[in-house]
Structures are given as structure tokens and as C-alpha cells.
């Protein structure tokens, strides 16, 4: 287990050494969203359901900041390790494959939690967002982080250039997040957009987190958690499979 502890330390150290880039920048951009969209548009869109607009968008912004960080961190850490070939130092070490995949997953999770906690504290100060179901919130965040941290690892392992990792981030994850109900309730969408939203996995994650904060959601919390878990488990298994077989990591 010593090897795993040191790999987790290394991944955490990387996040902390680059904290302005890894934590501060996403927190500032999410807070700007709250200020710009929430406090300015909040004057025009007073409430969504029973919730003030500036409070309504906080869970989605927390989710967006965390899942993007989990993905980006892990895609870049494993790609960099492959690109510079220092991944060999880990692959040759007396560690089991699950320890390697878990260790490389940790950095994204630590970074996301740092972002999420910072955003929650700042949101409490700025808009007094409630946390009505902490257990469901913790479960949703855990599943979401496992899903996107694992996806980050998988993409970073398959990527052949930096462009591949940023392509997935900018062309797939970011748009899915924006249309996943971060800034609005899908109830306000006309058909077929409302129905199509239900095919977006981020929609379920945003709603699960929103339920944890506000006690309100566009879909049942159980369905949201089940869909997120149904994606998180195979994503983690995929990352684990790559470390177990050495596929794409070893020639």
C-alpha cells in the first residue's frame, strides 16, 4: 500500500503546486457566473420554481466546476506522464493495477473537492444556498467525480496529442454541461428539447446535486443517482482494464 500512498501524494502535490491554475481559476470563473448570471439576470428571472435564480444556478455551477476539473486534471496528468514517459516509473513499480488506476484518479478528485468546497463556502456567503439533503449530495458528488475522473484517465490514455484531450473537453463535456440544466430547469424547454435533455448524462448529475442542495429536481433523485452510477461504474472499470492489461500504456 506504500506505493499507492506515494502515488496519491504525487498526484495531490501536482494539484497543489499548480493551485492558481488548478483550483483558483475555476473557482473565480464559477463565481463570475454566479455574479454575472445570477445577480444580474436574477433581476429579470426572479424564481425557478420556489427558488431564487441566483440560488438555483449554484448547484449546477458547482457540478460544472467539479466535473470539468476531474476530467481535465486526470486527462492531463496521465497524458503528460505518457508523453514524458515518467509513467514508466509507476508501471515498473511493485504496485497492483488497481492501485495505479486509483492513484492516478485521486488528483482529479482532490482538485474537484477543493473547487467544490471553495464554491460552497463562497456561495453560502454570496447567496446563502441551503444544503437540504447532505447524504444525497455527497453520493451524487462521489459518483460524478468517479465518472469524470475515470473518463479523464481513459481519454488521457488513448490520446495521442494534447488536442485530443482538449477536444473531448471542449466539444463533448462543456456543451453537455451547458445543456444539462445548469442555468435553467428543463421544464421551461419546448418539445423536443425537453425530451432530448433526458439523454444527456450530465442532466442527471446536475439534478442529483441540485436535489442535494435545494431539495428540488427535474427528475427523481433515485433515477438521477442510478443513471450516474450506471455510467460511473463502467467508466471506472474501463480505466482499471487499461491498467490491468497495459493496453495503450505498454507497447
Amino acid at each position: 500500500m506504500t506505493g499507492l500512498v506515494w502515488l496519491c501524494r504525487r498526484e495531490t502535490l501536482r494539484v497543489s503546486k499548480l493551485w492558481t491554475q488548478t483550483v483558483l481559476a475555476p473557482v473565480v470563473s464559477s463565481i463570475l457566473f454566479i455574479l454575472v448570471f445570477g445577480l444580474s439576470l436574477g433581476g429579470r428571472i426572479r424564481q425557478v420554481g420556489d427558488v431564487d435564480y441566483e440560488v438555483f444556478i449554484v448547484p449546477g455551477l458547482v457540478t460544472m466546476g467539479m466535473l470539468q476539473a476531474a476530467f481535465a486534471n486526470n486527462a492531463s496528468t496521465i497524458f503528460q506522464a505518457r508523453f514524458d514517459r515518467y509513467v514508466n516509473d509507476v508501471l515498473s513499480a511493485p504496485m497492483r493495477p488497481w492501485q495505479m488506476s486509483f492513484g492516478f484518479t485521486i488528483g482529479g478528485i482532490v482538485r474537484s473537492l477543493a473547487i467544490g468546497l471553495s464554491l460552497i463556502v463562497l456561495s453560502l456567503i454570496l447567496v446563502d444556498v441551503p444544503i437540504t439533503h447532505p447524504f444525497e449530495l455527497a453520493l451524487a458528488v462521489t459518483l460524478g467525480l468517479v465518472l469524470f475522473a475515470s473518463l479523464g484517465l481513459v481519454v488521457g490514455i488513448y490520446a495521442e496529442t494534447w488536442d485530443h484531450t482538449s477536444f473531448i473537453q471542449n466539444i463533448v463535456i462543456l456543451p453537455l454541461t451547458f445543456v444539462g440544466g445548469v442555468f435553467y430547469s428543463v421544464d421551461v424547454l419546448p418539445s423536443p428539447w425537453q425530451e432530448l435533455s433526458h439523454f444527456n448524462p450530465v442532466f442527471y448529475l446536475v439534478n442529483a446535486v441540485r436535489y442535494g442542495f435545494l431539495g428540488e429536481s427535474d427528475v427523481s433523485i433515485l433515477l438521477s443517482l442510478a443513471v450516474t452510477a450506471a455510467l460511473a461504474i463502467p467508466a471506472y472499470a474501463w480505466a482499471q482494464y487499461l491498467f490491468t492489461t497495459g493496453k495503450r500504456l505498454k507497447s
Partner: protein
């Protein structure tokens, strides 16, 4: 070392075919006794780095068996016994010299690697650079750090893949001194090199490989005798042309 000690390295029918179809090693057998200083010579593409990568679990072998001190190479025990300094500089860009050594020790199961890291920093003359990150080191300093990292966890078998490629004369002499001292302490060394004089100077036994096959194996003297020539260079030329 005792006669009953298992070999430091034993390859049985090792075969590696890459995904693009290239056959890098074919049914390769090799036994290196514990405590030996063993050299592996061959041209680019002969299969030297493939062989090393197979031993260190850095590639998926197609067929065959690799044993390190009698243990299958992919077991945790066997992995902890091997130290590798690769041909290319592959240092973690986020870590300082001290962290590079300490984290490597940690990956290899050392619970308190700090004192060993300090010892190696001193032995390799890197004291002034201990808190400097790898990308800011000179080429020679990176090469020293690479070797120090391979020795960090006190491996029983040290594999050096062209450790002196592209380094100046002074550093080469320094590295030779470190490696000799290591061998004198009982560590088994497997060295690949393009420099024939290096192999002759350091290695007790030399294997010549070409196109994934073992061509010849003996001491430098034995090879010269076998090929009926007076210089190792001529041995190499004859062996590779045959």
C-alpha cells in the same frame, strides 16, 4: 553469491511481436547469474531495449517467461528487486531532485525514503540542485539523477540502458565509477551500450544480439578467441555480418 542462488535474470523463449507486426525478440533464452556484470551489445533495433522493457514490465510480452531471482517478473517481489535507468531521460517535470528520489522510493515501498534520497544526492553530487525541478537541470545532472533514481530502492538487479549515451568524458568516468562500486557491493548489473570499449572495460560477460536473436555470449577475451580476432570491434563487425 552461492552456486545454488537462482539466476538474477532468466529469459525462457521470450518473444515480442509489436502491434505493427515487427518481431523484436524471437524465442530468446538468456540466463544471467546473480552478482554478474553483464553487457548486451547490438545495433539499433536489435531488441536490447525491448528485452529490458519486458523485464521491467513496460511492455506486453507475446510469449515466453521472465524470471528475476527465480520469481516471475510481474510479481510485486520481483518488481521491487529491479532498478532501471532508461536510455531516454524520463523524469517527472513536477518534482524536484529530492522529490524525484523520494517519490520513486515511495512507489517502490520505502516508508521513509528521505535519508536514502539525501545519501544519493550527495553520492551523485547533486546537493546544490536538491530543490530544483528536473527540467531546469543540465543534461549531465539529469543523467546522474536518472541513475540515482534507479538505485534509490536498493535493487538487486540494476538495468542500465545506454547510461553514457551522449555524455561527456568526465561524466562517463564518474558513471563508470558509480557502476563499478555498485557491482563491487554485490549488485547484479545488466548494461546495454553502443560503446564497445565500455563493454570491455566494465562487463565480465557480453552477449551480442541482432534481429531479436542471441548471436554469441562470452567474456570479451572469449569472444575475441571465438571469432579469431584481436579487437572487440572486429568481433562485433564479424558477428553482425555473419
Amino acid at each position: 553469491m552461492f552456486r545454488d542462488d537462482p539466476p538474477a535474470l532468466e529469459l525462457r523463449g521470450l518473444t515480442k511481436r509489436y502491434d505493427d507486426g515487427t518481431l523484436a525478440l524471437e524465442n530468446f533464452d538468456l540466463k544471467i547469474p546473480a552478482g554478474a556484470f553483464f553487457g548486451l551489445l547490438g545495433p539499433n533495433g536489435a531488441g536490447k531495449t525491448t528485452l529490458i522493457s519486458a523485464v521491467c514490465n513496460l511492455l506486453r510480452i507475446t510469449d515466453g517467461e521472465v524470471l528475476v531471482f527465480g520469481e516471475p517478473h510481474d510479481t510485486l517481489k520481483a518488481r521491487s528487486w529491479v532498478g532501471l535507468a532508461e536510455q531516454d531521460i524520463n523524469l517527472d517535470r513536477f518534482l524536484t531532485v529530492k522529490e524525484t528520489l523520494a517519490y520513486h522510493g515511495g512507489y517502490f515501498g520505502m516508508t521513509d525514503p528521505d535519508s536514502r534520497a539525501d545519501e544519493l544526492i550527495e553520492a551523485f553530487g547533486l546537493q546544490a540542485k536538491r530543490d530544483v525541478r528536473a527540467p531546469k537541470l543540465s543534461g549531465g545532472q539529469r543523467r546522474r539523477l536518472l541513475l540515482a533514481r534507479a538505485l534509490m530502492h536498493n535493487p538487486r538487479l540494476v538495468i542500465l540502458d545506454e547510461p553514457t549515451a551522449g555524455v561527456d568524458f568526465e561524466l562517463r568516468m564518474d558513471l563508470w565509477r558509480y557502476i563499478r562500486q555498485l557491482h563491487a557491493e554485490g549488485t547484479t548489473i545488466l548494461l546495454t551500450t553502443h560503446y564497445l570499449e565500455e563493454a570491455e572495460e566494465l562487463c565480465e560477460e557480453i552477449a551480442l544480439i541482432r534481429d531479436g536473436h542471441l548471436i554469441a555470449r562470452n567474456s570479451a577475451e572469449g569472444l575475441r578467441e571465438h571469432f579469431g580476432v584481436t579487437k572487440l570491434t572486429d568481433v562485433y563487425v564479424k558477428a553482425m555480418a555473419s
